[in-house]
């Protein structure tokens, strides 16, 4: 439920209530896990249209961007996974930490990174290092080209390009994709 809490906090912080759509995939997940990916897709599409249009080179934009990434990542993971949604005591602590940290931008960003790192390590094991490496690399690249960026469109283009790096890395592995039996 950490993804849902992160989304709720973002909705409050930004005043953009499209983040509340995160409740949809969780509701579907509770009803029927097989179909939760539809809710995830709808949530992502809603945010894709209505996300705040902020530059990542501002503090507010960076925190909102990080929060959006963490919120979507955690929502996808928690809604698709077979593991129970009910939070463990440690997760309750993390949610409390997020809520308290939301009072300050820097604290909120730090708390988001902690929650993301915890969830990634817990669910993906050592593979989580790819995520942390990609995150650090993305921040570094964006920092290095900060003066060359003419505007938000260029930042978007750069981010999309960087997003394809882990995708291309994963394509080295040949894995069979599972079917959704409930919709066959």
């Amino acid at each position: 439920m950490t993804g849902l809490i992160a989304s709720l906090l973002l909705a409050v912080l930004t005043g953009n209530y499209w983040y509340l759509w995160a409740a949809l995939p969780y509701a579907i997940r509770i009803w029927r896990r097989e179909w939760a990916f539809i809710g995830v897709a709808l949530y992502a599409l809603a945010l894709g249209v209505e996300a705040p249009r902020l530059s990542l080179y501002t503090l507010n934009g960076a925190v909102v961007g990080l929060g959006t990434f963490v919120s979507v990542f955690l929502t996808v993971e928690e809604c698709l996974s077979v593991r129970p949604l009910g939070p463990t005591p440690l997760e309750m602590g993390l949610m409390l930490l997020l809520s308290i940290a939301a009072l300050n931008d820097y604290a909120f960003a730090t708390a988001l990174i902690i929650v993301l790192a915890y969830r990634a390590c817990e669910r993906f094991g050592k593979t989580a290092l790819y995520l942390l490496g990609w995150g650090a690399g993305t921040v570094l690249v964006l920092y290095m080209v900060r003066k060359a960026m003419p505007g938000p469109v260029a930042q978007t283009m750069a981010l999309i390009g960087l997003s394809l790096v882990p995708f291309l890395l994963s394509e080295r592995r040949d894995v069979e994709h599972a079917e959704v039996r409930a919709l066959e």
Partner: protein
């Protein structure tokens, strides 16, 4: 429909929208989807060791409980779905979750849909925790499953088993005496009648198959060739009755009643033992054949005799000699264990066909003659195998002649009715 397809398509649409709107935050939504997909795929390194323990044997239709041990030596957990691909058994699909480095035991209910030695082919499909990727692993069974006919069903089948209309089949097959065009009567359709003889008007009126019967012009000479070998007789012998003697007596009485001239040619494994004129009647035929009861020797189980299915024909030439002595244009009824020496039988039938002698083979199957009291759980499988081997052995003979498989309960009711 694949979840990965939906997630990646959504990511691509959001990325395109973010670029058009100039929204870096929206681009991070697409990033989250792509990175989640990438991490899931990279971390999916499945390996399962699945073993299913089955009892070595089972009865047809019985439900078995197979224990399945699933060992996951990797960090990739998820849902395991075990399904059976063999059509010979009906097995419930097992669905269970498994965690990283977990060993789990589940049970599966299986019921055999057919008899015999069945090879099972189960597959364990591991789907990752998110339902995005999957991998298949073989289920190791260790051995094949032997399914025996259940004693209850054997009893049921015995109770329902219809009497073989052996005489109707025999006379129909060899067509004793050519028929004239003169109509004799209408009668009910019997096994062995051809479709040409069906009287369709009478059939539609009576709502059951009716055939036309014509007068026979001549009575042909019938040669009854009987294997009186000691081993064959022992394999047919019951507690008190020598079934071979019964069959011979019944045939002689039946053909004699209709005025056929007939000769009984008795042969054993090596030579023609005796030739007896059948017109004298069944009792005299049996006395002359000398089919006396041998005391002290138990009935021979059919599994103790080895079928000669392959290799060159054996030294047993007595059947060929007996067949060669029959004049062309007559009719032959062979009473022998057709499955024991199928190659010799095949040669004899080919010889008969070349010489224009119409033939029928009455095949007392020794497996059917095993007394019920001697059928135990221990020897049921062996008997069943012997029965299957015999079925296989006589398959080739059926193309050449009519082969009537009889057991101890066949013939008699029909003979009583006719006499």
């Amino acid at each position: 429909m694949k979840r990965t397809g939906v997630i990646l398509s959504t990511g691509a649409v959001v990325a395109a929208g973010a670029y058009l709107l100039g929204s870096p935050v929206a681009a991070l939504v697409a990033s989250a989807l792509f990175t989640h997909y990438a991490l899931s795929k990279i971390s999916f390194r499945p390996k399962l060791e699945v073993r299913r323990s089955l009892p070595g044997r089972a009865y047809e239709g019985d439900k078995l409980r197979a224990g399945i041990t699933i060992r996951n030596p990797t960090e990739t957990g998820g849902m395991v779905r075990i399904h059976e691909n063999s059509r010979d058994v009906e097995a419930e699909e097992v669905l269970t979750s498994i965690r990283a480095r977990e060993v789990k035991t589940v049970t599966q209910e299986i019921s055999a849909a057919s008899k015999g030695i069945l090879t099972l082919q189960a597959v364990a499909e591991l789907e990752d925790e998110r339902g995005l990727f999957k991998a298949d692993f073989p289920v190791l069974d260790g051995s094949r499953l032997t399914v025996l006919p259940s004693p209850a069903r054997v009893k049921e089948a015995l109770a329902e088993r219809k009497q073989v209309e052996a005489f109707s089949l025999a006379t129909g097959a060899i067509g004793i005496g050519p028929e004239t065009m003169e109509f004799k009567e209408l009668r009910e359709f019997l096994p062995g009648d051809t479709a040409k003889r069906i009287d369709w008007k009478a059939t539609s009126r009576l709502q059951s198959l009716v055939v036309r019967v014509f007068e026979r012009e001549t009575l042909g000479s019938i040669y009854i060739l009987v294997n009186v070998d000691r081993a064959f007789r022992r394999s047919l012998r019951g507690e008190k009755v020598d079934y071979l003697a019964v069959i011979i007596a019944q045939l002689v009485a039946y053909f004699r009643k209709f005025g056929h001239s007939m000769e009984v040619v008795a042969y054993d494994r090596w030579r023609i033992v005796r030739r007896v004129n059948g017109s004298a009647g069944p009792l005299k035929v049996l006395i002359e054949l000398g089919l006396k009861r041998e005391k002290g020797l138990p009935a021979l189980m059919p599994i103790q005799e080895k079928l000669r299915l392959h290799g060159p024909p054996g030294k047993r030439g007595s059947l060929i000699t007996a067949v060669s002595s029959i004049p062309s244009g007559s009719y032959a009824v062979i009473i022998d264990d057709a499955a024991l020496y199928p190659r010799e039988m095949l040669r004899a039938l080919e010889l008969l066909r070349k010489r224009g002698i119409r033939t029928v083979v009455i095949y007392p199957n020794p497996v059917l003659f095993v007394p019920k009291g001697e059928v135990t759980e221990e020897n049921l499988e062996v008997l069943y195998r012997a029965y299957r081997e015999r079925k296989k052995a006589v398959r080739g003979l059926k193309a050449l002649t009519t082969l009537i498989e009889v057991g101890p309960r066949d013939l008699l009711p029909k003979v009583v009715r006719e006499l």
